[in-house]
């Protein structure tokens, strides 16, 4: 069993009534930004999104918002993690979430980006978009299931 020499009550997230829910709100709003902007690109790659704009254009224009969202979501996530590290460390859903998040970020900036920028509208593009949506939705599910398993 892992132990930490760390007073959890010294963490404002555990002592201030407003801190924890507020951090969660930032976390949720930020993943709406990051996942939402990726989803805008994805629906375009699926062929059911913006008609007059290409996925390549969307990747370039939403990139900064995806990145900002990811920075805030990871920062607030680290803060939430600090409120009870041991609990999260041993939580299977949390562990899955971290691997999926890593996979999601790598996927987004490699395969997903490359295919979106290529302007390819074949089946490959549809598959890449579908996988992207699946990964990000699974991360959201895993995040919520931390509280349920």
């Amino acid at each position: 069993m892992l132990h930490l020499i760390y007073d959890l009550n010294a963490n404002p997230l555990n002592s201030n009534e407003w801190a924890f829910p507020l951090t969660e709100c930032f976390h949720i709003a930020a993943f709406a930004f990051s996942v939402g902007t990726i989803a805008v690109v994805d629906v375009n790659m699926l062929g059911i999104g913006l008609r007059k704009t290409t996925a390549a254009q969307l990747v370039k224009d939403t990139g900064i918002w995806t990145l900002l969202g990811l920075i805030v979501v990871i920062t607030s996530g680290l803060a939430i993690f600090s409120s009870d590290p041991i609990h999260y460390y041993y939580n299977k859903s949390f562990r899955f979430k971290m691997f999926a998040l890593l996979a999601g970020i790598v996927y987004n900036y490699t395969i997903h980006r490359k295919v979106a920028l290529s302007g390819n509208s074949s089946g490959a593009s549809v598959a890449v978009a579908a996988v992207s949506i699946l990964i990000w939705v699974s991360i959201v599910f895993a995040g919520l299931f931390i509280a349920f398993i």
Binding site: P21, T37, A39, V43, I48, R51, D61, S83, V137
Partner: protein
């Protein structure tokens, strides 16, 4: 019939009771509700920022609004379905929850916001694209939408942190032991057996109807 009795009658409907007591369906529907925020809520935020002239400025407004319309509609339907399941199945707790009540009011405001700007912005995007710069009404539309949707998001989260004034009723405590107890009171660091004991102590001695 009081609001409490009506709420209890609603959540006692067979399938809502089954849903509430299902250890899998409840979190699955809650996750779906949250995933909708990610996918479709994000699209609303991007549209709002486009209306404010902050993001996607090289993409025509009409393309953003028309292209994402179907997705936002699908998202809204899924979101409301999940939200109804979550709220109705725990109506005992929700009906008196101040944050829930405010959320419903702000949700109504979101509907009114859409109606207010439907003609001038949402169905007028092609004409706005022809204007030399974004009109004030488009920016006002984006700003009000951003405020109400971020508000709804935060209020939704805060529902879980509501503490009823005065003596909490037994049903609420039993529910809170499961997951909604205020964080700092959650006996999570104790051994499992101790946690159960601590949870039991908090239930009032007289618990009629349980």
């Amino acid at each position: 019939m009081s609001a409490a009795e009506i709420s209890h009658a609603i959540q006692s409907i067979g399938f809502l009771t089954d849903f509430r007591e299902s250890s899998l369906m409840y979190p699955v529907i809650m996750s779906t509700h949250l995933a909708c925020i990610a996918l479709f809520g994000g699209m609303i935020l991007m549209t709002d920022l486009r209306l404010l002239g902050i993001s996607l400025t090289r993409v025509p407004l009409a393309d953003v609004i028309d292209g994402l319309r179907i997705w936002k509609r699908i998202g809204l339907v899924v979101m409301i379905f999940c939200g109804l399941m979550l709220a109705l199945s725990e109506m005992d707790k929700y009906y008196a929850n101040t944050y829930f009540q405010i959320k419903m009011v702000v949700l109504l405001l979101a509907g009114l916001q859409h109606l207010a700007f439907r003609k001038s912005v949402y169905n007028n995007a092609a004409a706005i694209d022809k204007m030399p710069e974004l009109p004030g009404v488009a920016k006002l539309c984006g700003l009000t939408s951003l405020i109400v949707w971020i508000g709804i998001l935060c209020l939704g989260r805060w529902i879980a942190y509501y503490e009823a004034p005065g003596k909490p009723d037994a049903a609420q405590l039993v529910g809170s032991v499961r997951q909604e107890m205020p964080r700092q009171k959650m006996p999570r660091h104790a051994e499992p057996g101790v946690a159960v004991e601590a949870a039991r102590v908090q239930v009032p001695a007289a618990t009629p109807g349980l």
